[in-house]
């Protein structure tokens, strides 16, 4: 009984904030549901799983899934590889170590709205990148190009978050004891191997 009493506040919290809305959301998904003014009763026909069928067969939804897939395909490997390589290099660098670490971390800390402004300046039709590319600039430009828009966004997000992942790898690398590097070198491990 006492146990119930102690756990009641949390249970009530979870039931009200989490479970009830979840149950209600499931209910809504099975009906032709829309919100009305209080006291107004309307017919909300039961649809079963037809809302789900409709959503999953909607070309716009399918495109959205593809877009997410495309984003992940570019963003995840690029983030993993780049942050590992850069963290390893940063771990070895002797001079200007703090400056370099801060430089990589800065985009992560900067407000997205400001950074997006910079990238728009770089990648817009008349932006710096296209000016440098001259006749090689894509048409339509990066951000309105069917093929290039998503890779551009994935690249931006990779750059923006790279500092955070570098920091994680760096922390892990710094936990590797010096004796392990020495042992590897003694066993004939190359510089890149260790």
């Amino acid at each position: 009984m006492l146990g119930w009493l102690f756990s009641a506040p949390y249970l009530v919290y979870v039931a009200v904030i989490f479970a009830y809305p979840l149950g209600f959301a499931i209910y809504m998904s099975l009906y032709d549901y829309f919100f009305t003014a209080p006291g107004v009763n309307v017919v909300r026909p039961f649809l079963g799983v037809r809302n789900y069928t409709r959503a999953l067969t909607d070309p716009a939804v399918q495109r959205a899934f593809l877009n997410v897939g495309e984003f992940l395909l570019i963003n995840v490997p690029l983030t993993v590889v780049l942050s590992l390589v850069l963290a390893t290099l940063l771990n070895q660098v002797v001079h200007a170590r703090a400056f370099l670490r801060v430089s990589y971390y800065l985009p992560y800390l900067t407000a997205s709205v400001a950074v997006v402004g910079v990238w728009l300046f770089l990648f817009s039709g008349s932006g710096l990148v296209n000016q440098l590319l001259g006749p090689l600039a894509p048409n339509p430009s990066w951000l309105v190009n069917e093929r290039l828009a998503m890779p551009s966004i994935a690249l931006f997000v990779t750059w923006k978050q790279l500092g955070f992942y570098i920091l994680l790898y760096l922390a892990a690398l710094q936990n590797v004891g010096k004796e392990l590097y020495e042992a590897a070198a003694t066993d004939g491990g190359s510089r890149s191997g260790t």
Partner: protein
């Protein structure tokens, strides 16, 4: 542990059960609120000019009606006004009147049971029809009632920068922009002369309402005043629609308009030499652009007095959450009286939707000649199709337009035909289930 899970499961079940109780039945019957009098609250738009008008109107009413005072405020901040109003309807906290109700949202608000049918008042329909004339018909719901009072319009025209036109070697006083060919020739000259980076810059984004500021005005003009949907059938895939879509496609394919979102107002910042907008924008161009305005072009170059355009109207809704609807109706009539409409016109430059607009305010139009053509154009405006599916219909057209016109992908006629077919399915309820709900995507609507 098992006990805890049971509590959670019961809560979820409760959600299902409680929500199941609200189905079935019919709209709540009219009540005594219709005749009730007392204090009311109203929301008005948040732009500087309309706030000034709103405050003055409230003050004028309050000084004469101490027992039925108005508490006026700007529409609360949200992603969009419509999202805020929709949420307020659901919560039962909607104000009595909103002086900025978009006609495209009215069908949805009506479906939510949030709006009072103004025809329920003894003089409701007659007042609206006497003030607005035949144009009021476009705002009538399927059941024949008025769930909005047609308030003010911003007939969309082509604004042009006289200085940039002169720089491009075009006549700034009599620009030849009446036909599609003339317009394109002028646009090419603006671009090739370097007078401006782009000739015109309609928003190239995919929000449903952007259709109202590129395709719809020209379609209204080209078709002689047709709505994009009539009697449940899409009309925009006819010869007029194809001509308009081809015109814009040429504009985009030749780089005469930008395809990227521009930060700020392209016309005010002289990125483009023309804009397609209503008279509300005049105040924002003051001191920045030496502008002129002409009607939107057509393929054959119709005379100005035969040109129709999109209304860009904002109306007034009276909400069911209002306890003193009798007072709200009186305020609505007061706020749209000849006197208050005149004040609205002189304060905001927007056109009250009165059938006798120019005759009612001869002094204003004599003193402000720049507004005269808007006053004239206000007599020939076309509205978005009514009903709960307006947003879905406009979004379907916009999606096709974005792909086929702005991006230039695929066959134009086929794209319009496909969109027309989808629109007719939506209107017939075939694209949705049983009762069919048009769920608006307010999140991007500003």
């Amino acid at each position: 542990m098992h006990g805890a899970w049971k509590v959670l499961a019961a809560s979820m079940g409760l959600g299902l059960v409680l929500s199941g109780c609200s189905g079935g039945g019919s709209p709540a019957p009219a009540n005594s609120a219709l005749t009730a009098h007392g204090p009311i609250n109203i929301w008005y738009s948040n732009n500087e000019q309309e706030v000034a008008w709103g405050k003055a109107m409230v003050e004028a009413w309050n000084s004469a009606h101490p027992d039925e005072k108005i508490d006026g405020q700007e529409i609360p901040a949200g992603k969009t006004s419509e999202e805020v109003i929709g949420a307020a309807i659901t919560a039962g906290t909607a104000p009595c009147l909103v002086f900025n109700t978009a006609p495209s949202a009215v069908g949805q608000f009506q479906r939510q049971g949030g709006l009072v049918n103004l025809s329920s008042f003894p003089d409701g329909a007659s007042y609206i029809e006497a003030r607005t004339g035949a144009a009021a018909d476009q705002y009538k719901a399927e059941d024949g009632g008025y769930y909005q009072l047609p308030w003010k319009s911003n007939p969309v025209m082509i604004f042009y920068n006289k200085d940039l036109f002169a720089k491009a070697g075009l006549d700034p006083d009599k620009p030849n922009l009446s036909t599609f060919d003339d317009f394109l020739a002028a646009a090419r000259k603006i671009k090739s002369s370097g007078a401006a980076k782009y000739a015109i810059y309609p928003a190239p984004t995919s929000e449903f309402f952007q259709t109202q500021f590129d395709f719809m005005p020209l379609y209204a003009a080209e078709s002689g005043g047709k709505q994009i949907v009539q009697d449940g059938k899409a009309t925009f895939n006819d010869a007029s629609g194809l001509a308009v879509a081809n015109f814009w496609k040429t504009i985009y394919s030749e780089g005469l308009a930008g395809k990227e979102t521009v930060q700020g107002d392209a016309f005010a910042t002289k990125i483009s030499a023309m804009a397609i907008v209503g008279p509300w924008a005049i105040a924002s161009y003051k001191g920045k652009v030496n502008w002129g305005a002409v009607p939107v072009p057509t393929s054959a170059g119709k005379p100005a007095d035969q040109i129709y355009t999109f209304s860009d109207a904002k109306n007034v809704g009276l909400f069911t959450a209002c306890k003193n609807q009798g007072t709200a109706w009186d305020v609505l009539k007061f706020a749209t009286s000849t006197d208050q409409d005149g004040k609205l016109l002189s304060t905001t430059g927007q056109m009250p939707m009165r059938q006798d607009l120019q005759k009612a305010y001869p002094d204003f139009f004599a003193k402000n000649t720049a507004y005269k053509q808007f006053g004239d154009q206000a007599a020939r405006t076309v509205e978005v199709p009514g009903g709960p599916h307006t947003v879905e219909v406009l979004q379907t057209l916009r999606d096709a337009y974005t792909k086929a016109v702005i991006s230039g992908v695929g066959d134009l006629q086929q794209a319009l035909n496909d969109a027309a077919s989808k629109v007719e399915n939506i209107l017939a309820g075939r694209a949705c289930w049983a009762g069919c709900s048009a769920r608006p995507t307010w999140s991007t609507w500003r």
